[in-house]
Amino acid sequence: MIRPIGILAGLFFTLAVLWSFANGAWIAATEGLGEATAEHEFHRAPEPLHLASDGVFGKFDKAQVQRGYQVYKEVCSACHSLKFVAFRDLAQLGYNPAQVKAAAASWQVPGVDPNTGEANMRPGLPTDYFPSPYPNKIAAAAANNNAIPPDLSLMAKARHGGAAYIHSLLTGFQPQPAELLEKFPAAKTPPGLHYNPYFANLNLAMAPPLVSEGQVTYGPGNPKPTIDQMSTDVSAFLAWTAEPTLAKRHQTGWPVLGFLLIATILAYLAKQQIWAAVKPKKKAVTGSKSSD
């Protein structure tokens, strides 16, 4: 009974899905496989970026991440928050407690006046988190052509390509290619948006934030703050904010894998020894007597 019903049910699903297939094939034959779009043709995958934190031995380059922090502070923080990072976390970048305190105090965070109870701004403490530049989402959207600048804490994990994507995005602003406008006149970048082939739909509301060499002044002993250098540094900083525990993860893995490798080899040898008695010595041929 089950088999006839099963066969009927099988044919039912098969026919239903082939019916969908036939409809799809008809549409594909008469109208083609979907229309070409500007995004399909002009979107670019992020260019490779090599950071010290990459790879299985990767650690953060603290000097570089410190420079990236400076870029974030002086440029990006005007629009982007960093809400999952606290000032105390800066200690991981090699700052001593006094420096962390000073760094925190250089930011204004929302507070409460101890005398009147009214909301005010006060210098940050190491336990505070990075403040948001806008009081609320409406203010953020109003100031940015209706787009809310996203929080950057996890940006390096929240996009395909990670830090490399951020670097490509920051260095990828350019005029719209003439070829694109020729092919897709309707895809002209709307006023207030900026063309960037690394952004998913090619036009984003962020104006190029890093526009000139020396926009941020690096201390002595640091590389020249070219646009590419600043972009790389801030990408390295955001790789750190996205996963401050990354270096520890990389370091912890090796002893664990080493231990497991030795344990697995021992387990294999133990298994071989235990099985030696019952394994046929040679591949036996049918009919011949086994050797044991």
Partner: protein, 429 residues
Amino acid sequence: MSFPWARQYEPTNGLMKFLDEKLPLPRLVYDAIGAGYPVPRNLSYMWNFGVLAGFCLVLQIITGVVLAMHYAPNSLVAFSSTEHIMRDVNWGWLMRYAHANGASFFFIVVYLHIFRGFFYSSYKAPREMIWLLGVVIFLLMMATAFMGYVLPWGQMSYWGAKVITGLFGAIPLVGEPIQTWLLGGFAPDNAALNRFFSLHFLLPFVIAGVVILHIWALHIPGSSNPTGVEIKTEADTIPFHPYYTAKDGYGLGVFLLIYCAVLFYLPNYMGHPDNYIEANPLSTPAHIVPEWYFWPFYAILRAFTSDFFIIPAKLMGVLAMFSAILVWFFLPWLDRSPVRSGHYRPLFRKFFWFGLIPAMAVLFYCGGAPAEEPFVMLSQLATAYYFLHFLVILPLVSSIEKPEPLPYSITEAVLGTDKQAVLGENTAA
């Protein structure tokens, strides 16, 4: 099964004798996974995955309980409590990555376990109950994994929950009230998150209970084996301990090596970047995809793009997606070939390797791809094959196929000879 030659447990000291009289737990272990359980001597490494699945379940429960100590199931703070675990909780990143990747590896292991069952037709008599309980476990695992993925309350959590619970809306008449009732609202929100957390905590223990039944049912006929020929004499068996404890120990080592390599060096490889963006009901991600282990079924769901007579396309997709797993329940009765192992079934084997496996691969790939051509058309063809395979091809093949000659016994298959071998008694199992 208690084969007559199974070794008997002998308590060796006073304490063990006492225990054996009052609560014979050591005897249970001895008979279940010790020297008192005779097992076919020829099990291949494909028989390692049951034990590995059990290991994964324990791993998920342990890491999950620790995560639940720090996680806050409230839609306002769920996302940041997850980041708190990643950043501030000691070894929290390890627990979270271990749990998230543990779920993926659990599915890898269970898929291999299930496909072992397909190839060796482990579902056939006398093992139908083991198989049925297995399918129940798989359904429970899918529910658990789905609800677990909602908990971090990222974009994919939210939109995945919305799409999947939206499927209930496809049921005629009662669909929408059911959906609202399940979610505790019109869209996923705090109420849904809270109940998902509660159920996500509960279900693994339900799974553990069904696993106990699964293994109990396994011990009645005992394991099958790569020849599919049943145990005939003591020579066909070896005690589970030390032989298979040692083999499973080695298998566990290899599993842990691969798992830890991913855990420490590619922990986000099997995840989706959008889940690092906090849930936002006002912003729909460009492509909503579930976790990779749902892709084949998601592809089946999306393959139905046209209404079929009076059945709306969406309902058809939902029916097909659930049926794709429900058909597994009927396998023991659909496949009537008396031969179990695919090694001796020439026609079945061709359909397995050149039909089912490629169809599953296509469904897997298309389920993760955007709902565009050519992926939709490919998944439609693969879906057609999927249903044909289980519901039409298997029953027909089992009637027309001429199996290859089977070895007389497991011993003969291993050693090339069996002293008890009697010519002419080489019957199909």
